[in-house]
Amino acid sequence: MARSLFTTVGAAALRPAAGAVRVGRRAAAQAVDGAALAAADLVLNSKTAEEIVDRLADSPLFERAVSRALAGPLVEAVSRDVVQYAVLDRVAETILEGDALESVLERVDAAEVPRRVVDRMLADGIVEQTTARIVEGPELERAVDTALDSAAAERLVARVIESRLLDEAVDRLLESEDLWLLVEEIARSPAVTEAITQQSMGFADQVADGVRAGSRRADVWLERAARRALRRGAARNLPDEPTAPEVTPQ
């Protein structure tokens, strides 16, 4: 009985001391954490740390390490994991489901970012440079060649030709006044009329050449025939030649 009383009194007497110890330990831990963070900040913000990082980044060792990491299985492993755990899908889903994207787009639109980007691109001549590069470069030609050589292009052309669209386009073209004005203008142009005149004269010349050659051949033939007939007539009118006297055997 006395023992339990002693224990109870002792515990009650020691309780404030234990609380004081806990408070002291917590304060000490907080002080240590604060000091560590302060030390870390001091280190990270120091010029020496910056210098160390710069030197590390410039060092061949760092380069080799990065190269080895990129050449090694790390990249494949990360890619595999990204694909396996559908990281991109999840990120995209999260972005699309939330209002963040909408608000970002609204803010971008409100700030007239697209207009400013376009203005900047036009002002800098980027569009012209890009267009010139595309037009002058071999890529466009290759792309066009590939597209034209493809079976899909053939099918597309065939479908366009077979479609009613082309017929309608041709009909509309034929009905338009402008087409006939254009045709009239071309037909009246000096180059076309001169070409037609030359062609007609060339054709007339060809016909005349043919007639001349034929008539000259006919002349020769007719004269031969006439002379032959004349010779035959003359031969017929000649008196018969006297027959040789018969030779009698002696």
Partner: protein, 185 residues
């Protein structure tokens, strides 16, 4: 300094040079080889001329008839008009042939067939009265069933009755160089 465009064409230059050489060798220029023209070629040329003469005459006659019909002249004028028309036609036909033979030596038909009527003795152009005689000779040759043209088939220089009367021969004309075709622009 003459440009290339001023120079005569190559065949003409060669021909001129040949004349010089012939003059040095023979003492006189070389006579070009004349190609006397036959009956059929001349008949085709004459047919073309007849078409031209007749078409012009028909057009003029039609125009005159329209004018006369609009004037409503008395019937007695008709005979006089027909006679005048006949004389005009003869005049027009004779004028056509005489003019061409005595100037260029080529009627339109002759030009198409590339032949020319020239004097028989020296190859010059016929005088107008010779050309007129030739036209008379042409009619005379046609009168006896075209027998006057028969000597063209049989004589060396292919001369018919009209050529004998007119003192002419019909020769071929060398083809003129053709113009360059128009290039597309």
């Amino acid at each position: 300094m003459s440009s290339m465009a001023d120079r005569p064409p190559a065949p003409a230059r060669v021909g001129a040079r040949a004349q010089v050489v012939a003059t040095q060798v023979h003492g006189e220029p070389a006579q070009p080889q004349l190609e006397y023209q036959g009956l059929i070629t001349r008949a085709i040329a004459f047919t073309i001329d007849a078409v031209v003469v007749d078409v012009v005459a028909i057009v003029v006659t039609a125009a005159a008839a329209l004018i006369v019909s609009a004037l409503s002249l008395p019937n007695s004028f008709d005979t006089a008009l027909v006679a005048a028309g006949a004389w005009l036609f003869l005049l027009w036909s004779a004028g056509y042939f005489v003019t061409f033979w005595s100037t260029t030596g080529q009627t339109l038909g002759n030009r198409v067939m590339q032949i020319r009527v020239v004097r028989a003795k020296d190859g010059g152009t016929l005088r107008p009265w010779r050309a007129l005689l030739r036209l008379v000779g042409l009619m005379l040759a046609a009168l006896p069933l075209f027998l006057g043209f028969l000597p063209i088939l049989l004589t060396e220089r292919r001369r018919g009755l009209q050529d004998v009367i007119g003192g002419s021969v019909v020769i071929g004309v060398p083809e003129a160089p053709k113009a360059e075709p128009v290039r597309a622009r």
